[in-house]
Symmetry: C2
Subunit: 217 residues, 2 copies
């Protein structure tokens, strides 16, 4: 599979690196065409790894992953270009984490979500929100946390969610651990989980944790 | 122990009923002195069960439990009277669930929480937020959901949290399954978990579930 990964931060590089290891062709996209972090990553990673601007990465990917921060997600996707997203599965792993007056805050929160904003702005992309409830090291290596912990998917396109569930399987998340929350509106629910994640992270000092949902019967 | 439970809804009656079964003296408090639901509950429950107005329940309790809905919590506690709360452990189990234009919404959300509002309004009460992340049947019978799932406590008073952890133990939550999130500010985190809970509830049709936090190493 050819992936375009938007965002050269830790999340983007970690996802892109693991997808290359898994044998995929990955273009890591950044705001500028000559981003040194992306170029260095592409050089170090493998022949299947390339670096480029957002538009090049999105154009190259059969699947596009949004791994930039929530506050800049729409700008990055506009730079990527609707023509490079239309009809494609667009995996959104970001959180709406903004810093206001030195405090971590969610923007948007509750009445909207980044996942929904992306789907509204790119109505022909098939947006699937997932993986934002875990640290990027856990995203690509769920086995580093013990137990049958879960990951969530939200999206309006059932086939797109199925395809993303396949990708999650390659990353180490068996299908039975993927909880389908419903339409893209449910992105609100997983984005609002962030404060609980952040609180547990601050208290424990480690990002290596995740939740398992237990059901009766 | 003598408990005052404020709120005659399902949450209040369920908690009060279980505490009576466990041998405690419980006064179930309602807005009015002659609430028929509370009176019927007290008649049916046991000798240790009484019904009264909010102020009577709060006065009778060594520990007071706020089990009214988030939007009316402060009103109920004002009716209970600061003089009946000062110095006492005040267990807040409510969620900030409001209905606006037919939609479930949180109020407050993110920049504040019901737990914090209560602590600010009653600075001499020792507020502990807990149990709001599970359905009331699970609150008093965690064994109905399989697995070592967790419950959270938030509060500024360490001794009060210890006392509440003891109460949780009686309800079936061993201390090692009680996650201390820190000060009462962390009530925001557990209150914002509600949308994820509601989404999973709607999708599954059952309130009998809960999350377990898995940590690496």
């Amino acid at each position: 599979m050819r992936y375009g990964v938007l965002g050269t931060g830790e999340v983007g590089r970690t996802l892109a690196g693991r997808l290359v290891e898994l044998g995929h062709e990955v273009t890591l996209g950044s705001r500028t065409r000559d981003n040194p972090v992306a170029a260095e990553w592409a050089t170090a990673a493998a022949e299947r790894a390339r670096a480029g601007a957002f538009a090049q990465a999105a154009a190259a990917g059969e699947v596009v992953i949004n791994a930039v921060g929530g506050p800049v997600a729409l700008d990055a996707l506009r730079a990527a270009g609707a023509e490079h997203l239309d009809g494609k599965v667009l995996v959104d792993v970001c959180n709406p984490l903004a810093f206001m007056a030195g405090e971590a805050r969610l923007d948007p929160v509750e009445s909207d979500s980044v996942g929904e904003r992306i789907q509204r702005a790119f109505p022909h992309a098939r947006v699937v929100k997932t993986l934002n409830t875990v640290n990027c090291r856990v995203m690509v290596d769920p086995g580093r946390v013990p137990g049958a912990h879960n990951v969530f998917v939200s999206g309006d396109d059932a086939e797109a969610k199925e395809q993303v569930t396949g990708m999650l399987g390659e990353l180490g998340w068996p299908a039975q651990r993927v909880v389908d929350l419903g339409g893209i509106r449910s992105a609100r629910a997983v984005e609002m989980y962030l404060p609980l994640w952040l609180t547990m992270f601050r208290n424990s000092g480690s990002p290596d944790f995740n939740i398992e949902v237990h059901w009766a019967g």
